[in-house]
């Protein structure tokens, strides 16, 4: 990270910047595209099989909503993940692309099929709906669309799983002592959490998409001026609830499998990941929350299945909200438990490779910071630039998770700390109740400068 230009996102910090994009993308790509494609294809197939033209026409209106959101918000935040990752940690995403380039290229080819099929499905629907043959064609396009959507998730899940569990059977995916590193591509791809996370994501996506489709079917039919839509609503809702009754238990089972594959060190991070630092001791609250949210989803599903006409709108939207909460948490936990690493055991959260640490401890983290001014790299004899140097160290090592004064701001975190306390804390960052922090990397002089800088956030002027 030290060798790239410094970019600091004010107040919200880079981490939150990425999180905003990531959360939007996960919701839309899983609910709208991957799960959505399966659910929409199933709706078209079912309505066509039952020869239920009212339901078939209503399905098109739902397709339109999914089309608009998937192609705009979904696709662009997907590209956004990459650009944001670049801003957050160029060395990490650069490394991942070196390892997964051809897989990503294949994903891009599959993604072409996905987009073209979605465009075809949507733009030829009206033309095809007149005849039996045409409708069968639409269903076929829907099925191909669903397959290609799912395939795009296969690869990206492998990459996410790799970041958590890069090693397989104790065989390293790359020998850390060789330059340039020769990657064992198969080992990187077939990592232990790939299959369980893929299975879990697949079925949760379908369940989530069905919940979304119930909500949209409800909205569209209720506000439609067309009587047929209103009358088809209950039948479609019942069908969608049926999909949920199958997929919710399956995804829970795969979720448990996924859980069992997570390494022990990462599992230990879960309480903090779920409850945030302030509430990490109240892990029991998480069970209550999971039971509450999960339970309400299950109950709503049962109501929707057995009494679709009486299904109130509030319940449909609550169900979607429940999924959003669970999924948002799942993503937060997955990102958090990887700490203090970005790629487990290979690269720390702040983009510093573990193998570079002994060297950087010796020569200093700022020595190779090409984009920093020379007078902000080494503390002068009279210590006149110590705060500048300290700020440089902060920008390189801390800024990826901390801000000065905003979210996770150092000013608030160290309010009331003495200089000695800060200096001593830097000696053992992963200790003292924060196992998710990477160690300080750099020389003792740089540590002094960083301590002085952090102290100066609360107390103006240089101490010591």
């Amino acid at each position: 990270m030290f060798d790239y230009p410094i970019f600091e996102m004010p107040f919200i910090g880079q981490r939150m910047l990425m999180a905003i994009n990531a959360i939007i993308h996960v919701f839309v790509s899983h609910g709208g595209a991957v799960g959505g494609s399966v659910v929409l294809a199933a709706m078209a197939w079912w309505a066509n099989k039952k020869n239920d033209m009212a339901a078939y026409n209503l399905t098109f209106k739902v397709v339109m909503v999914f089309f608009i959101i998937s192609t705009s918000v979904g696709a662009l935040t997907g590209i956004g993940m990459w650009i944001h990752a670049n801003i957050l940690s160029p060395n990490a995403i650069g490394g991942l692309i070196r390892v997964f380039f051809w897989k990503w290229f294949i994903e891009w080819i599959v993604f072409n099929f996905e987009v073209v099929l979605l465009l075809l499905l949507f733009m030829t629907w009206k033309k095809n709906q007149q005849t039996e043959e045409g409708r069968a064609k639409t269903v076929r396009i829907g099925v191909y669309y669903a397959i290609s959507s799912w395939l795009t998730m296969v690869i990206i899940t492998a990459i996410l799983a790799f970041m958590l569990t890069p090693n397989f059977d104790g065989q390293p995916w790359v020998d850390p002592t060789v330059y340039p590193g020769n990657v064992d591509y198969n080992n990187a791809l077939f990592n232990p959490t790939w299959w369980p996370s893929l299975a879990f994501r697949t079925f949760t996506s379908i369940a989530f998409a069905a919940a979304l489709a119930i909500m949209w079917t409800w909205i569209i039919a209720t506000f439609s001026k067309n009587e047929e839509d209103k009358e088809a609503k209950a039948r479609l809702v019942k069908f969608l609830a049926g999909i949920m009754m199958i997929t919710v238990p399956i995804s829970a089972a795969f979720g448990y499998w996924y859980y069992t594959e997570i390494p022990a060190a990462a599992l230990a991070m879960i309480p903090t990941a779920v409850m945030t630092r302030a509430f990490e001791d109240r892990f029991d609250l998480m069970y209550l929350m999971a039971i509450g949210v999960g339970g309400s989803i299950i109950i709503t599903t049962i109501i929707a299945y057995f009494s679709p006409k009486r299904m109130p709108y509030l319940a449909a939207s609550l169900m979607v909200a429940g999924f959003l909460i669970l999924w948002g948490y799942e993503e937060r936990v997955r990102e958090f438990i990887r700490k203090p690493f970005l790629i487990y055991n290979y690269m720390y959260s702040n983009g510093i490779r573990t193998t570079d640490v002994p060297y950087l401890d010796k020569v200093g983290i700022l020595k190779h910071a090409v984009f920093l001014d020379e007078d902000k790299k080494v503390v002068k004899e009279d210590k006149s630039n110590i705060l500048d140097v300290g700020k440089s160290v902060y920008q390189i090592e801390c800024r990826i998770c901390h801000t000065v004064n905003g979210i996770n701001g150092l000013k608030g975190l160290t309010a009331g700390w003495s200089h000695d306390a800060i200096r001593n804390r830097l000696n053992n960052l992963p200790g003292g109740g924060t196992p998710y922090m990477p160690p300080f990397v750099g020389t003792e002089a740089e540590k002094d400068a960083l301590a002085a800088y952090i102290k100066s956030l609360n107390v103006k002027g240089v101490i010591k």
Binding site: D3, Y4, P5, F7, M9, I68, S72, A75, L76, T77, I79, G80, I83, N86, I87, P90, I93, G94, G95, I97, R98, V99, F101, W102, F105, W108, V115, V116, L119, M123, P176, T177, Y179, P180, G181, V183, Y185, A268, E280, D281, T355, D356, V357, P358, Y359, L360, H368, V370, F371, G416, W417, S418, A421, N424, R425, N428, P430, G431, G432, G433
Partner: protein, 441 residues
């Protein structure tokens, strides 16, 4: 020259043994597809608004229908354009990782406009298309939606072109500090001029072609509008572009322009201009004819496409000559860094292997291993109280054990102590040690 370059990623580049030229050609092909869709997006979205307005003023349904049909082209080209924009970036980010990511960081956070601004533009363009019939009687409002979509699309090249101009000229990494430093420069201005002219030129020629097909399929009235308007677009934009194109290689930094002069790439823009001159003459020749066959329209399309391909190749040429020196410098610096780093790492590994194991029964080593000393020391108050202070204040060992395992709040200071992952036996050892410090006083 003041080069500021990041190190390369110390992992093998997955080229599958293919030569770099293969990736150059791959990059050019995917870029041509991408830029063709983007040209269509800019042109079609503009056309769909202009002809909507003309339809209102002329009270002519045919213009309205033509404008509506153009929104289909907007929808397809915005989706395909975004999608095919990813592939060139994927290729350059694996081959020239440091340059691409440095350029992105230098123009952050404004570069995110290509994500969020694009989402807004997409949604506006959908709103425009899908409300066409519903807002039939509110044309003013409807056109305002379309116009804002077009304006949103028009902002994107400014941001993206700034990034790519910085990426292609790595010597500017040392001096450019934000997006404005590169956006308001002749190179970006000139290349944007070429971009918009090419967009209108390409859309013009495509409009002639689709118009010819509509006429052939029986949509004579709308087809004729498309043909006649397409001709106007093409004849207006292309001559200007013919002048701009040969000048493009000379807008880059002197180092790059000079190096380009000594390669074959320098001829390509001239060839592209000549092809466009032929295309202009071809269209002028048929300017008076109301109807053109799709075959002859396709000839004009092909000429334009070849010229776009030649320009994309020139662009790749600029990249090749520009990166030659910095790539070599980067490789050298990376090797030097990694050699020093790995030597130190191996030394560290050996030291670790020879180091005696931590004695978990020794309280000082235990406290060190468990991270206690991050916040406490024996004599001095740090984040938490010194152990001597604790020993002095507490008389009950049980309280200390409890505090270690469960944490405490507001006892010594406002900073709380979090719960520690320490077993009963270990806590006992630590508590005994802390209590013993009192006796030493």
């Amino acid at each position: 020259m003041n080069w500021k370059l990041p190190f390369d990623i110390p992992l093998i580049t997955p080229t599958l043994g293919l030569p770099l030229e293969f990736f150059s050609i791959l990059g050019i092909v995917v870029f041509v597809v991408h830029i063709s869709f983007i040209y269509m997006l800019i042109g079609a979205s503009t056309a769909s608004v202009i002809y909507n307005i003309i339809g209102v003023f002329k009270k002519d349904k045919a213009y309205d229908q033509f404008a509506y049909r153009m929104t289909n082209y907007t929808t397809v080209s915005e989706n395909m354009g975004a999608l095919w924009g990813v592939a060139p970036l994927l290729v350059i980010s694996v081959l020239f990782t440091g340059f691409f990511y440095t350029a992105i960081l230098k123009v952050s956070p404004h570069i995110l406009h290509i994500i969020y601004g694009n989402i807004i533009a997409f949604l506006l363009s959908y709103a425009y298309k899908f409300s066409w019939h519903a807002l039939e009687n509110h044309k003013g409002f409807h056109i305002a939606i379309g116009l804002s979509a077009v304006l949103a699309f028009f902002t994107l090249p400014f941001v993206f072109m700034s990034m790519s101009n910085l990426y292609m000229q790595p010597e500017l990494f040392a001096t450019v500090n934000n997006i404005w430093d590169i956006m308001f420069t002749p190179v970006t201005g000139f290349r944007l001029l070429n971009f918009f002219l090419s967009a209108f030129m390409a859309t013009g020629v495509v409009m002639i072609f689709i118009g010819a097909r509509w006429v052939k399929n029986g949509d004579v009235e709308i087809g004729k509008i498309a043909i006649s308007q397409g001709k106007k677009w093409f004849i207006w934009a292309t001559p200007l572009n013919i002048v701009v194109i040969p000048l493009l290689p000379f807008v880059f930094t002197p180092r790059i322009s000079e190096a380009l002069m000594h390669t074959g790439f320098i001829y390509l823009p001239f060839v592209a201009s000549i092809l466009l001159i032929i295309a202009v003459l071809f269209v002028l020749n048929k300017f008076k004819e109301e109807v053109i066959t799709p075959q002859s329209a396709l000839r004009a399309v092909a000429l334009v496409l070849v010229s776009v391909f030649l320009m994309a190749t020139t662009r790749e040429g600029v990249r090749v000559v520009s990166f030659e020196e910095p790539l070599a410098l980067q490789a050298e610096a990376t090797t030097e860094f990694m050699t020093a780093s790995l030597a130190e790492y191996k030394k560290y590994k050996e030291e670790m292997a020879n180091k005696p194991a931590v004695d978990m029964n020794d309280p000082v080593q235990l406290a060190e291993a468990k991270g206690c000393l991050a916040c406490h020391s024996v004599d001095v108050k740090l984040v938490g109280p010194s152990y001597k202070e604790v020993a002095f204040k507490e008389s009950d060992k049980g309280i200390i054990i409890n505090t270690i395992q469960k944490g405490s709040v507001n006892k010594y200071d406002v900073i709380p102590m979090p719960a520690q992952d320490i077993s009963n036996e270990e806590a006992e050892i630590l508590a005994n040690w802390i209590m013993s410090l009192k006796e030493n006083q």
